[in-house]
């Protein structure tokens, strides 16, 4: 799975880098560094709802389960990213 954190201008000002740093810690804590490729992406197109995080490149089981090949998360910040990860992203790994 690939998790992309938007680093476009708008999200940058809202704290993308803090989210990325926190995500690195979380991936380590949940021991999923090998399963999730963390990337930065320029503008995902939701400037008003930043910071935006996008998860994609799912395996087939996940796509079938959620009926979509990507997951968009908005209004993410360094304080809510761990909750968001645990409830929205981690379950998609099917482990």
């Amino acid at each position: 799975m690939i998790v992309k954190v938007c680093v476009g201008s708008s999200c940058h000002l809202k704290g993308s880098y803090d989210v990325i740093e926190k995500m690195k810690e979380i991936l380590k804590k949940y021991d999923v560094e090998d399963l999730i490729d963390l990337q930065a992406s320029f503008c995902l197109g939701f400037c008003a709802q930043g910071v935006t995080v996008k998860a994609d490149d799912f395996d087939k089981a996940t796509v079938d389960k959620i009926g979509d090949n990507q997951l968009l998360l908005h209004n993410v910040n360094k304080d809510n990213i761990e909750d968001t990860f645990a409830t929205k992203i981690y379950p998609l790994l099917n482990i």
């Binding site: 201008s9 708008s10 940058h12 000002l13 880098y17 990325i20 320029f42 503008c43």
Partner: protein
């Protein structure tokens, strides 16, 4: 509000605007016949001997706006029929010479080239070295120097005259800095425009559905388009059809980081971000090329970040620079940049599409740090590398900012003969740095203030986060 410094820029802009309009109207076939008549409606000629010559020159300008001579690898070309064959006589005594008694001209002449014949100053051209002292000494200002502005502007002596007295550029010497483009009072030396390629990139993206188009914008933009805010210019660029605008200054942060690391190993190094400076070293100091930093320019580093997060992205660099038009086609840039457009071309593009920047809403542009943004001025890299070196425990750094080709030559000569006490050489071909780049809309001291202020407005005060982004994506 005045947008351009000179009328020559205005003519180039008007031609570009018409070409862009024709491109969008799918009517480029009529560009050569119709645009010259729009530019010079007649019946009387405005600048040249007759309306026919004026229109013929406009046709050549249309050709340059549409890419110029494809067989000439140089991005700067002479429009030979536009060259007004300026006099090259050197020192010339005008009738303002009053035949005075003091003869200041004679006493200051270091070569004894001046004598008084029939009470008037006479200059022996075989002795005269054109130092210009007499022009300043004459209380009547009666002696003038007749130099060609193009020849004077060219610091690498790449411009000479052919038998027709027209300017000719020696591509082996030219470093594509564009100084002659800005300085020729007749607009006879012009940079090639690739704006039609930009239009193709935008059109073929089918509103960013086939692939996404990105504009990388040079930090010098802040001193341009003064009629509006940078955040409005960003919106205007997006209205042209770009998916997103990213600051080149973000790549500058990364270039700075890499240069500091590289310096630690090399001990002596020059910068590599100014392609004209790099060409200058290669052509004039081949023995010093080993010192040129192997770090990529901010334009390339920014493009690399974008292509990493979006591999099918098409990227256009928008800047003040003619030599970036040369750089993006060099093999060392790995095709990361798809096209380059100047600030002049951007202005023409926005106006051709009837976008009123002053009415555009604001789109935030904030990717880079303070240091990345002040890369645009002479001394900016020196300032940045000094602070970054401190943080990275790089010792014995002694940087020098070489402002313009003359200073580059002086400092590199010292380096060549081991007489330099400096070890980090920041080279910029344009006087003052990119903020006075040849293809800026306006030039002058205020540009420096604008860039400094823009630097302070960046959210990031250090390059730390830009570097993290670089590491994450590599």
């Amino acid at each position: 509000m005045k947008v351009f410094d000179t009328n020559v820029q205005l003519i180039k802009y008007n031609i570009l605007k018409e070409v862009i309009k024709k491109a969008y109207a799918d009517d480029l076939v009529n560009a050569y016949s119709e645009i010259p008549k729009i530019i010079s409606p007649g019946p009387k000629a405005e600048y040249r001997c007759c309306i026919y010559k004026e229109r013929a020159i406009s046709q050549e300008r249309v050709r340059m706006a549409m890419g110029g001579n494809k067989d000439n690898p140089n991005v700067v070309e002479v429009i030979d029929i536009a060259c007004d064959e300026c006099p090259t006589g050197g020192m010339f005594v005008t009738p303002a010479c009053r035949g005075c008694i003091q003869h200041n001209c004679m006493s200051v002449c270091p070569r004894g080239a001046i004598s008084i014949v029939d009470k008037k100053c006479t200059i022996d051209s075989s002795k005269c070295v054109e130092c210009g002292k007499c022009t300043q000494a004459c209380p009547y200002g009666a002696i003038i120097a007749q130099h060609r502005p193009c020849v004077q502007s060219c610091k690498v002596k790449a411009i000479s005259m052919n038998e027709e007295k027209q300017a000719v550029i020696d591509n082996n010497k030219c470093i594509a800095c564009g100084a002659c483009v800005y300085k020729c009072p007749f607009g006879a030396i012009v940079d090639k425009s690739f704006v039609l390629d930009v239009i193709d990139i935008l059109k073929n993206s089918e509103n960013n559905t086939k692939y996404k188009t990105y504009a990388i914008i040079a930090p010098a933009i802040v001193s341009q388009c003064r009629y509006g805010r940078v955040s409005q210019v960003v919106t205007a660029i997006m209205k042209l059809g770009f998916h997103q605008v990213v600051e080149a200054a973000l790549g500058a942060d990364i270039t700075l980081y890499r240069e500091a690391g590289e310096f630690k190993e090399k001990g002596i190094m020059t910068t590599s971000c100014c392609p004209s400076f790099v060409a200058f070293v290669e052509k004039n100091f081949p023995e010093l090329t080993k010192y040129i930093s192997s770090s990529d320019s901010p334009m390339i580093e920014t493009a690399r970040l974008i292509k990493h997060s979006d591999p099918t992205a098409k990227i256009v660099f928008i800047g003040p620079c003619s030599s970036k038009k040369m750089e993006f086609r060099l093999p060392k840039t790995h095709g990361l940049i798809d096209c380059v457009m100047s600030f002049e071309e951007l202005q023409a593009f926005v106006d051709a599409k009837d976008i009123d920047t002053t009415l555009c809403e604001d789109t935030i542009l904030d990717n880079a740090s303070f240091y990345g943004r002040i890369f645009a001025k002479s001394g900016g890299i020196t300032r940045g590398i000094t602070d970054v070196a401190k943080d990275m425990n790089v010792e014995n750094l002694s940087p020098v900012a070489m402002n313009g080709i003359d200073e580059c030559r002086a400092n590199l000569t010292k380096l060549k003969f081991n007489k330099s006490t400096d070890n980090f050489f920041e080279g910029m071909a344009c006087d003052g740095g990119c903020l006075n780049g040849a293809l800026c809309l306006n030039h002058g001291p205020r540009n420096l203030q604008d860039v400094d202020k823009y630097g302070l407005e960046a959210k990031e005060k250090t390059i730390e986060n830009s570097v993290k982004l670089y590491k994450l994506n590599s």
